[in-house]
């Protein structure tokens, strides 16, 4: 079944073939920014796992690492334990507010510059252009029958795409283990199956999403465009075709004739350069639309055209519909980046980020948690005393072994505390906890005969580092048979 490229037909067709885009190369200010963002973000992605960070002999020496087996995450000097996973929540909250802020300032700027789909697609386009040539060459080549040359070029493109895709998946797994070791193991065939599986999955997704699906990911698969479009407001700068200046569009020649005849002529020469460079195949002159990812490439394209025909640049630019209306009414445009919404977002980012840094800086390096035996709650001893059993977990977050003295407060004189399997020094058990680990102990607390306690007495467990006095505590209860 042949489907015409320019007509979407309903009727008997159950599907519409995607119209293939052939975005043309473009250069200019925003293209340069996009290249820089691409190099910086991919550079970080590929090289971050190789940065080393000394944490002592027992801890991994990788600056950024998610250690699934050890259940810890490392980010330079920061070490996150599973119970501190709320930092991840904090990061996600920060990320969404940052997205709101970007939206309030410049619409879907995330989509156009920072989104991984955009970045990798851009890279794949660059490879395609390098091998198959620019828009015209590619269109002609795709129409031409298969030849040795065409086959060679197509194959070369797919090989390079696949290499990039493998690299993408390859870099991903480096964040979950020692990067140099993984690299060696992957090439020598010694890596764990899960490593190859993940490389395979990400190779497939990168190759298919960035190589074939491209703008369709943004149009059909991604939920962000819907959300982001809903977040933007009348003050947000969006890539805008300034209709007030461009219309009525007329080619240079017709425009000159019209001007001579005293008719109105806009600056747009209808060259369609803006449409040809658009990676999502959008005509920005139809106004802001779902398909536009705000990459700004049409701005660069149009500016080049304007320069050639000797007109002012900026026929397409970051602007607002409100300003177009104002200019048509003869009023000056207004740009307001600082306004309640942006200030609020920025303040929230500073506040939440500050709070996270504060808690990280003041985080305790030891902890204790206690679980009271439930069955039985207490044991009557032969001398008439009462014993309670607890499971105590001591946490040492420092990269060296530490000793904690364990005590209980809240009970009258005469009670004894015994940590099973631990020697006591001057009445207190001193528990050794290895570097960066937790240790679980069974602890028995005994109150001798003669001390009458209520059915439940609140008590406090303390651990104190015998070297530097750092402490942690947690509360629990001491249970007895209710006195009658």
């Amino acid at each position: 079944m042949r489907v015409d490229e320019n007509v979407t037909t309903g009727g008997d067709n159950y599907y519409a073939a995607a119209k293939k885009n052939y975005p043309a190369a473009v250069s200019g200010r925003l293209r340069t920014i996009k290249w820089s963002v691409l190099i910086i973000t991919l550079g970080i992605y590929y090289f971050l796992p190789f940065i080393r960070w000394d944490r002592g002999p027992d801890a991994p020496g990788q600056a950024v690492l998610i250690d699934m087996a050890g259940r810890k995450a490392y980010f330079f000097g920061v070490e996150i334990w599973p119970q501190e996973v709320y930092y991840l929540t904090g990061l996600l909250v920060l990320a969404s507010i940052a997205l709101f802020l970007m939206n309030a300032v410049a619409g879907r700027i995330w989509c156009g510059y920072l989104c991984p789909q955009t970045v990798w697609t851009d890279l794949f386009f660059a490879v395609e252009r390098w091998i198959e040539g620019d828009r015209r060459d590619r269109i002609l080549m795709d129409r031409a029958p298969m030849s040795a040359g065409k086959f060679m070029r197509k194959s070369a493109k797919h090989v390079i795409w696949l290499l990039i895709a493998v690299g993408t998946g390859g870099a991903w797994v480096l964040y979950f283990g020692d990067a140099p070791t993984i690299v060696k193991d992957v090439f020598t065939g010694n890596a764990a199956p899960i490593v190859y599986i993940w490389i395979g999955i990400l190779t497939f997704t990168t190759y298919s999403l960035a190589g074939f699906m491209r703008e369709q990911v943004c149009l059909y698969m991604c939920p962000w465009p819907r959300i982001q479009a809903a977040l933007t407001d009348e003050w947000a700068l969006n890539v805008t075709y300034r209709t007030d200046r461009g219309e009525p569009r007329k080619s240079v020649r017709i425009g000159e004739r019209a001007k001579a005849a005293g008719e109105a002529v806009g600056d747009c020469i209808d060259c369609k350069a803006c449409v040809q460079v658009c990676p999502t195949g959008v005509d920005i002159r139809e106004g802001l639309q779902l398909g536009c990812i705000q990459c700004g490439l049409c701005i660069d394209a149009c500016d080049t055209v304007m320069h050639k025909v000797g007109r002012e640049p900026g026929l397409i630019g970051y602007d607002t519909d409100m300003n177009i209306a104002r200019r048509s009414e003869g009023k000056p445009p207004i740009y307001r980046i600082v306004r309640p919404r942006t200030v609020l977002y920025a303040a929230l980012i500073v506040l939440i980020g500050g709070f996270m840094i504060y808690t990280l800086a003041n985080r305790a390096f030891q902890g204790v948690s206690v679980l009271h035996d439930r069955n039985p709650l207490y044991v009557n001893l032969s001398d008439g005393g009462t014993r309670n059993g607890y499971t105590v977990r001591l946490i040492n977050k420092r990269p060296h072994e530490r000793h904690f003295a364990l005590t209980v407060s809240g009970l009258p004189e005469g009670f004894t505390l015994e940590a099973q399997g631990v020697a006591a020094a001057s009445g207190k058990p001193v528990v050794e906890v290895a570097a960066d680990t937790t240790r679980e102990l069974r602890v028995l607390v005994m109150v001798p005969n003669g001390i009458v306690l209520p059915a439940s007495t609140p008590i406090e467990f303390y651990i104190v580092d015998t070297d530097n006095g750092e402490k942690a505590s947690t509360s629990d209860f001491f249970k007895t048979a209710a006195p009658n």
Binding site: T8, G10, A17, P376, V379, L381, S382, G384, Q420
Partner: protein, 288 residues
């Protein structure tokens, strides 16, 4: 399609449906989407052949792979058992003290002991090992036959007054039932016994009771009434009472005597499980 109306603005055909003047455009799905849909159908058909899927009258289609959740669960259980057997071998050759001092073996023994306790011991001693009247509390520090690791292991292996030829065995005479003591004497000796742990019996002559105790009870419970682990005789001076520490209970015990039975587990449970049980029970509250 008989009638095809093309929408002027979009150039797309309409479906012909109309609601309040609004017409639905007949925009087709993207092709890749449709392919994914077809691929899912093909996958589902293949899946139905490869895995069990179709319910039949008395059974179900088994699938080409013969896969069954039950079989894979069983295989996993077997793999688990094999893995446990490895560590279990280590336990078999180690002494109780060695196990207690090796964190790895200890962890394994504790887990296995906890499970075995729940399966075999909890019906009498309770899931928390606190026992009940007539069934010793294993959480406290009072032990009839001794509370060391070896004592506990031995008691579990041979049982108490059980069918094993090696069983732990010692019977208290039925002082009242068999006419060895009369009611007044029993009352007096009960008074004496309870006075040792600070309670009393109304109308009992403690001095006379002491005399009776010296003549009848010291052979098992000792001169000081502190009992004996060798004979399984309870310590009568402490505050833990297996059959109750009130006047009526003590008199009842002396009159009729109690002969609690614990089964012998040697032969029913393998030695490694018994070791684990001993470790677990010892860890509940210690004991000597």
């Amino acid at each position: 399609m008989a009638h095809e109306e093309i929408d002027k603005v979009t150039g797309v055909a309409t479906t012909g449906h109309e609601w309040d003047g609004i017409k639905e455009l007949n925009n087709p799905l993207p092709r890749w989407w449709l392919w994914v849909f077809y691929a899912c159908i093909v996958f589902a058909i293949g899946y139905a052949f490869v895995y069990p899927a179709v319910p039949l009258v008395s059974s179900y289609s088994k699938g080409l792979l013969g896969h069954s959740q039950r079989a894979s669960a069983l295989a996993e259980t077997q793999a688990g058992q094999a893995a446990r057997a490895e560590v279990g071998k280590g336990l078999a050759n180690a002494s109780l003290d060695q196990i207690k001092n090796d964190p790895k073996m200890l962890e394994f023994a504790m887990a296995q002991g906890r499970a075995a306790f729940g399966d075999n011991c909890a019906p009498c001693h309770g899931s928390g090992a606190t026992g009940s009247k007539g069934y010793p509390n294993l959480q406290d520090d009072d032990w009839l036959w001794g509370g060391t690791l070896t004592d506990i292991e031995h008691t579990i292996t041979v049982g108490v007054r059980s069918t094993s030829p090696d069983t732990r065995m010692n019977d208290m005479p039925r002082f009242g039932e068999d006419g060895l003591l009369d009611a007044k004497q029993i009352r007096n000796v009960a008074g004496f016994v309870l006075s040792l742990s600070g309670s009393s019996v109304k109308g009992a002559d403690v001095e006379a009771g002491k005399q009776i105790f010296a003549e009848n009870c010291t052979s098992c419970h000792g001169e000081d009434a502190k009992g004996s682990h060798e004979l399984g005789a309870p310590n009568l001076t402490d505050k833990v009472w297996l059959y109750g520490g009130d006047e009526a209970s003590v008199i009842n015990t002396i009159t009729h005597a109690h002969r609690g039975v614990m089964p012998t587990w040697g032969g029913k449970l393998d030695p490694v499980t018994i070791k684990s049980l001993a470790i677990y029970v010892h860890d509940l509250g210690g004991g000597t």
